[in-house]
Symmetry: C2
Subunit: 120 residues, 2 copies
């Protein structure tokens, strides 16, 4: 057992899983990455940008991110409604870590695709 070991075994006691489980869902990381590159987006701009997310899941995802304080939500009292989403300082602090994952994915895309086609 290495030093600085993290205990993963209990969900509630595990500092990591409690937080990371929130990004283990299908859309959170993608929403953060996109808001990171576009700064401010309305609900259906985000939806068009992602392309394959359902309205329901985008709404749920944004609500969770807002609850955690990663995304802020600005409502303009208009009809039809206008709501703008952007990253908070906390969300921005996570961004470079996710971008580093994206960079890794880009660098290793070819080799992983090859591995997949070998094994089927």
């Amino acid at each position: 057992m290495k030093e600085n070991q993290i205990n993963f075994s209990e969900v509630d006691n595990c500092p990591v899983r409690n937080i990371l489980d929130r990004f283990g869902d299908k859309w959170s990381t993608l929403v953060i990455l996109i808001l990171g590159s576009y700064d401010t987006l309305r609900f259906n701009e985000l939806q068009k940008m992602i392309g394959t997310v359902s309205q329901k899941m985008l709404a749920v995802t944004l609500k969770k991110l807002e609850t955690d304080g990663l995304v802020s939500r600005k409502v303009y009292p208009q009809v039809p409604p206008k709501v703008e989403y952007s990253l908070t300082a906390l969300g921005l602090s996570l961004l470079p870590k996710l971008e580093s994952l994206v960079q890794w994915a880009n660098e290793n895309r070819t080799i992983i695709t090859e591995n997949r086609s070998l094994k089927g």
Copy 2:
């Protein structure tokens, strides 16, 4: 639109999502992190360490990671069977990026937990 912009809008054409979707599942990142700290583990050592993963999902997760070439599987022809899992070089190259996410989660755990209890 910033320079170095990534196009997220089409699943198949998106270099990022094609790869990252594989870690968007419930267990992959955790398995990589644990194998990263324990070096080599047998199937049920991994299961005990995670604590809440089902045998079925651990098997599925390991098979996907093996297919992608992130995890290697060494079978000892014994009865009862012995199978050892460890990270490949590719898996090891991903590890620091995931550990950086863990570090972020640790640093921001308190504030996120507070945010959740305010809104939640």
